[in-house]
Symmetry: C2
Subunit: 438 residues, 2 copies
């Protein structure tokens, strides 16, 4: 490369794919979108750049540090760092024009300038669904969300997965009853680390927060409640916890479990897990995480929950909702690392039509047009190269079929159709090509 | 609104849509993508943020002023302002891993901080296709591009359109022969304004550039050549222009016209127009514009052309290509302004299932699951409101069917299916719902 060239490169923490991976990525993207739409979620596509004043109304701490924020002229603007704040702003802005409950999906890139590390991205797709009500939102939606996610991961077919759910009222009520209402934040954050740092470290940390030893035992035995969903619910009902919030939370869990069955979600795919708390402050009821059973190290691949107030920074209207998010860029990266992304061809075409020479170009175009007319992607190799190079190209893009047209084929209205996997060749009439390559 | 609220709003020049428009927009987006894929173009999704050094290797002038550029830490970065520069960078970076000719599509947002005005956007979708060769790229691609565009606009079905084409070699050769080789830029830019400012103003401006009066007449009579494509080609061949580039350009035009017919493009949809020059400096052969016949004021809705060197700023490799771009955000806005976007419902669901009471929730879920099982989007109204409000919601989202389930229906395994357009109601078995609402 000569000295005056700029080295072509992108920044660390940004994902760009080669065609075969992009095709696999898009297949996942399209599957998620299709399921979201099948459940009646509406598309939304908010602005990538927003006014900092609006976007950061609620933010602080880490978010503010990570955000891409800049001036252009006199305007202070920033790139969205999630899809929830833009949703809140959009709903507050257009409340009069939307039908509630408002069910929307958005599958867009968000931007966070965090220190790049393996599997962490600065620009990544989130695939969110949320349902927003005015004043109230029925509990059935708490079951519809995991039902949608269940269908998404069924169709993505990356193996067995488990949706783990909990209810913040259960946790909040339980800890209030023990007299730790003011320490719930600390306690939940510590408990959130149970799997990561182990029971002993959690006990120690809880002690440091002033949790009495007797209570530590109670807390940990409570959190150890495991089993079939109905058994867990019975165990929760049987607990000696004198707190209304707790009781309400347990009944919500019971209701969601009952509805999940009616939504046709397999019992093996969801489980009550009292250790699930979710970090974010605004969850107030049902919370979810989703794990691939055989790849626990991936962590949660889809999380969310119920919140009481979506857009309190923009409007006085009470807008309760429930939402769930798949971080698709990170998920794709992890699946790939674990060898779970099936190899894709580097072409969307089912067939590459190859004229042997210039004289067969007409026949080649006619063949391609016939295939495309049936809605099947096809390509033609137009470059005037030798047959060897033409076949090399077909092999490189991994197209399933090559339709070779020489003088004889052109005269007979046929192609020599080569199955690129088996190497078998046979003459096929052009009119029969769509069926032959489908 | 209380005083401590932030007013929810976005910046001028950014497009956000209500659900009914977003659905219509996505329909266009999906149509374009489907046609692109049918012709064998591969998906690409480059980073939104790039290093300024890389992104601006070639830029200057207006582009540099309009770009969103900022620092984060020590890094100077910017948002992409088109999809061509990222393609050039990507191809130069991954040349060893790609199969050539490399056919890619990218349909992504680009960002330009220009002064916002009616119909101009700072953040907008471009839908690009390009084919890149190494060292050479066959002329058939010059016909495939407009053939793809022809199929896109056929399927979008916004009425009659015309693809106007020209060849830069014809223009460059013609003007060189007259001795204006060094003024081609000025002359072409002036000619580009022919429709906008009229013949007289163009004559005056050309005079100011030092074009002799006799040549002005020659130039304008040359550019006035019109008619059937074959007649225009014959007229161009008959011109007394002693210039090889000119002759080569005319034969390229003739070849492209011949191939367009073989691609099945209707003769009425493409026309040679010698006044088409395209502003960009890097076009070297075939150039295109596309107009809606009945809406000339929209200007070109899809433009592009052939270039000799895609990535000269990044690599010494010769990468000729041809590309074409649809500015979808602007096009959607213009179609909408002209009443050409057919009204869409504010729901993707074909049917809203409405349980009359809590007791019919099971039956409602079963009905929705049946419809969704056939791949048809459906929704359920879960909120415990009165029937009047439930039906109001159905009307507001414009769903074609409502499936109402009371006690009788639940017992009989039926729904009362209401056609929301005609108001007609009839009992339908749940198993027959998919066919009834499809």
């Amino acid at each position: 490369m000569s000295n005056n060239k700029v080295q072509p490169r992108i920044m660390p923490g940004f994902m760009e794919l080669l065609p075969e991976d992009q095709i696999a990525f898009n297949r996942m993207f399209d599957t998620i979108r299709r399921v979201y739409e099948r459940y009646g979620f509406l598309p939304l596509d908010t602005a990538t750049i927003e006014l900092s004043e609006v976007l950061l109304a609620k933010a602080g701490g880490e978010t503010e540090k990570q955000i891409y924020r800049f001036q252009k002229g006199d305007t202070d603007m920033a790139l969205r760092f999630d899809l929830t704040v833009p949703l809140a702003r959009y709903v507050a802005q257009h409340a009069g024009e939307l039908a509630f409950p408002f069910k929307r999906y958005q599958m867009s890139k968000v931007f966070r300038g965090e220190r790049p590390q393996k599997g962490r991205f600065r620009e990544f797709y989130q695939c969110d669904i949320d349902v927003i009500g005015v004043d109230s939102l029925d509990i059935v939606y708490d079951a519809e969300m995991p039902a949608v996610i269940y269908n998404v991961f069924k169709e993505l077919a990356f193996g067995a997965f488990t949706i783990r759910m909990n209810n913040r009222k259960v946790l909040n009520g339980f800890f209030s009853a023990l007299g730790y209402a003011d320490k719930i934040g600390d306690i939940l954050r510590t408990i959130d680390k149970l799997e990561k740092i182990g029971r002993e470290a959690v006990e120690k940390e809880l002690g440091e927060f002033g949790v009495a030893e007797a209570d530590i035992a109670k807390i940990l035995s409570f959190l150890a409640i495991r089993g079939e969903n109905d058994a867990v619910i019975e165990a929760l009902r049987a607990q000696d916890v004198d707190n209304e919030l707790y009781r309400a939370g347990v009944e919500e869990l019971a209701t969601v479990v009952a509805y999940l069955r009616r939504f046709g979600v397999e019992e093996s795919a969801f489980i009550i897990d009292l250790t699930i708390a979710r970090g974010l402050d605004y969850y107030t009821g049902t919370v979810f995480e989703t794990m691939l059973n055989d790849y626990p190290s991936m962590g949660s691949i889809c999380s969310g929950g119920r919140y009481d107030s979506l857009a309190g920074y923009y409007t006085d209207q009470k807008l309760p909702g429930i939402g769930i998010s798949i971080g698709l860029t990170r998920l794709f990266y992890q699946l790939k690392e674990n060898g779970l992304v099936p190899p894709s061809q580097a072409s969307l075409a089912r067939c590459l039509v190859i004229p042997m020479g210039e004289a067969q170009m007409d026949a080649a175009l006619a063949a391609a047009t016939t295939i495309r007319g049936a809605g099947i992607p096809a390509d033609v190799y137009y470059q005037s190269k030798g047959m060897k190079q033409k076949m090399k190209y077909a092999a490189k893009i991994g197209v399933p079929y090559a339709a070779i047209i020489g003088e004889d084929e052109a005269n007979a209205g046929t192609v020599m159709l080569k199955d690129m996997n088996t190497g078998e060749q046979r003459a096929v009439f052009v009119a029969e090509l769509p069926d032959a390559v489908r």
